[in-house]
Structures are given as C-alpha cells and as structure tokens.
C-alpha cells in the first residue's frame, strides 16, 4: 500500500484524514498513485491534475523523502521508500493566499 498525504482542502473534499493509503498495482509512479487515488476518491478528479491535460495543477507540488518530485516525469518510478509504504507521497498545496 502507498501512503498519500493530502492538503487540508482535499482532505475535506474527500472526507478523509490527512494521510490515506491506496493500492497500486505494478510500478509505483506518480501517475498510477494518482490514478489509484482518484479511483478510490472520485471527487478528487480534476483537483490535483488538470482533467484535460493530465498535468499537475500549478498550485500543487509533489514531495517524498524530502525531495521535490513535482517536475519528475509522471511515469518515473517513485522512491522505493514510497513504493514500500515507509514514506508518504505528499501532495502539497501552495501555502500562500488561503
């Protein structure tokens, strides 16, 4: 299971706590983690990735293992620690302008 941390507003939207777990089959990549997240929480579709382009929304960033993964290709393997559930994949909203 992959651990995912959500920003405050998406926790509210999905009626979840700050950290949830999703099951990813095959290679653990940004794309597949987000696919699994949206499959489990359909209300999150379009809130993390633009629905038309599939691109990460500009005001959100992805972090894991203290690294900024926002500009990594969506099909690149996430760190092993994320794939193995030891570290969380973090979806972080811009802190300004709330």
């Amino acid at each position: 299971m992959v651990r995912v941390k959500l920003p405050y507003h998406l926790q509210n939207l999905a009626h979840t706590s700050a950290e949830i777990q999703v099951e990813v089959h095959g290679a653990v990549t940004q794309r597949l983690v987000l696919d699994a997240l949206e499959a489990r929480y359909p209300m999150l579709r379009g809130t993390i990735r633009d629905q038309a382009t599939g691109q990460r929304r500009a005001f959100l960033r992805f972090f894991a293992c203290q690294e900024d993964l926002s500009h990594e290709p969506p099909d690149a393997a996430l760190p092993a620690a994320v794939a193995e559930g030891r570290e969380a994949f973090m979806i972080v909203g811009a802190i300004a302008g709330g």
């Binding site: 209300m43 579709r45 993390i48 629905q51 038309a52 005001f59 959100l60």
Partner: protein, 371 residues
Amino acid sequence: MSQVRVLVGTHKGAFVLSSDGKRKEWKVEGPHFGGLEIYHVKGSLANPNRIYASQAGDWFGQVVHRSDDGGKTWETVGNEFKYESTPGTHQWYDGTPHPWEFKRVWHFEPSPTDADTVYAGVEDAALFKSSDAGKTWSELSGLREHSTGSQWAPGAGGLCLHTIILDPRNLERIYTAISAAGAFRSDDGGKTWKTITKGLKSDFLPNPTAEVGHCVHHVAMHPSNPDVLFMQKHWDVMRSDDAGENWHEVSGNLPTDFGFVIDVHAHDPNTIYVVPIKSDSEHYPPDGKLRVYRSRKGGNEWEALTKGLPQKDCYVNVLRDAMAVDKLDECGIYFGTTGGQVYASADAGDSWTAIARDLPAVKSVEVQTLV
C-alpha cells in the same frame, strides 16, 4: 409562513442566509467550502432543496457541489467540462489566437421544470448542460462554434459566459451573454445560435457597432414579459422589446451608466434596478455613495435609493451575479458587495439593511422564496 433563503457565493466560501417572510431576523449559515472560491450558488425552481455551487479556484480547479436539502449538506458531483471536438482558438488579450481552455463555471441555471436539468456557463466561454443533476456535463457546442467564435476576446475577468436565461414560455429559447463577446440567442435548445447585438455600441471597439466584441455584463428578463430584456453593458444600460433583435439605450438620468448588475422587480416587469459604478477604470460607486437606482418605467427615468446604504466613504463594487429578488408580495431586493456586505430591502428598494456585514468578498447572490 413563507421563508426566504439567500445563497451567497464569496471569495472564501458559500453562505446561506435565511429568514421568514418578515425578513427582519436573518440566520447566517456557513461558510460552506470555507476558504475556497465559490463563483455561483443557485437553487432549482423545480425542487428548491436542490442547489448547485461552483467552486472554482487556482489551487484545485473546478469542483461542482450539489445539495439536496436546501444547503445544509453537500456532495460533489461531476466536474468534467470537456469541449466537443477540437476547440480551436479565440482571441487573447493581445489579439493573438489563443486555444480554448476550460477554467471555471461562472453561472448555473437550473431548468425551471426539471430538477435534474441544469445549464452551466463557463470560462472559456461555452454552454454546458447536465440532465442527471450534475453527474455528467455535455457541451452545447453550437454556441462556441458560432461563426464569430474566433473573434471573441476576454474581458479582464476572462472570456466568460456569465448569463443564461431560459424563456419560461418555451425552454428551447435560451439567451446567453459573454464578456467580452456579446449576447446570443438560441431557439432550438442550444443547437444553433444567433448574435443579438444590433443596437449595442461600444466605443472601445474599432467598429463600435460590430457584431461581436461588446462587453455585456449582465442581462435580466421578467418571466411575465419574456420578450423584454434589460442589459447592463460595459457602459450603457440597454433594453430590447423584441427578444434581443434590437437594443436601445435606457441609461437616461443615471449618474453613470457603467455597472455590473441589473435585475427586475418580481411582480412589475417595468421596474428595474442597477447599481451605478463610477467608471471602467474605477470600479466603485461615484462620490463614495452606494446607491441603487430604480426605474419604474423600464429605463430612462431613474431614482436613487439610498436609505440604509452608506453615503460616504464607500468604495465597494457589486459584481454581475450579485443581485437578486425574492417573490414575496412586497418584493425583496438583495445585493452583495466586494466589501463583504449583503444588503436587503423588504420594500422593493425604498429602504435597505445589511443582513450580513463581514463576509468575504461577495461574488454572487441568488434568492429562493419558499412558500
């Protein structure tokens, strides 16, 4: 006993203000979706417990919320607004071609007869329809594919379809207004469209009477007189007596004819309301005085309504979807400001009180009369 429910979309959430028919004591509920930008909240005439809300901000994009209990609880419904075929381009601010890109829903217009049918006006300008209470949305692409579409240019707020009016006699007739393209009418349920801009004059255009390019801010219609339309444009208050075929100016003695809102008294189709704003460069009331103007003659002759409204040091704006009326016998008028106030009049505008004073900047106001 009748009840009134005022649905307020703000920069940081949605609020529901409710009162009984006396409209003296108001209960404020919210913020729903606190911290998030709510562009529009509107209820269904067919089922007043069904309300749609457009959450549309830069962080999380478009989310559509629906309530089925009058705004107490909400669930998210469909938020995929996909343009039909290859969208092509419209004009960008600098005149260059710019691809059509969905950004947000500006306005919901539920069908008056079917609680599951609702229209959405979006940015970049297009019209969508849902027949399953918001689960899925389909574009009525005939509008965006109008022959003039490539010439449409955005106003400062974006290329937005902000007004949708359904003719109560015939729901196949739909009016829309787009900043800054103009006004359009369909007579076949949205399949085909024509511009309805004859008589509009916009001096900022190279051709002031061009078919498109007019920045229409809002259009209003009284359901008992559906061929008569009133328009607040980027300068000029206009009127059409023939379903938009021809427009003439009715600004008359207004102190300034720039503004955003326009609305019609619930029971008198010749009584209309505007809130004059100083100019296109200064979006606040002239002289620091917040004044609603009322015409009882469908335009031209206007009177200032000031009792209970601030008459000094007031520099708020009233955005285009932020005025509405109730249907009680003494028609109530409501509007919200960018300063966070919601003002209400229980006597058709003769006097006003602030029923909420410290909300976030108000983007939209709609009213439900529950009997």
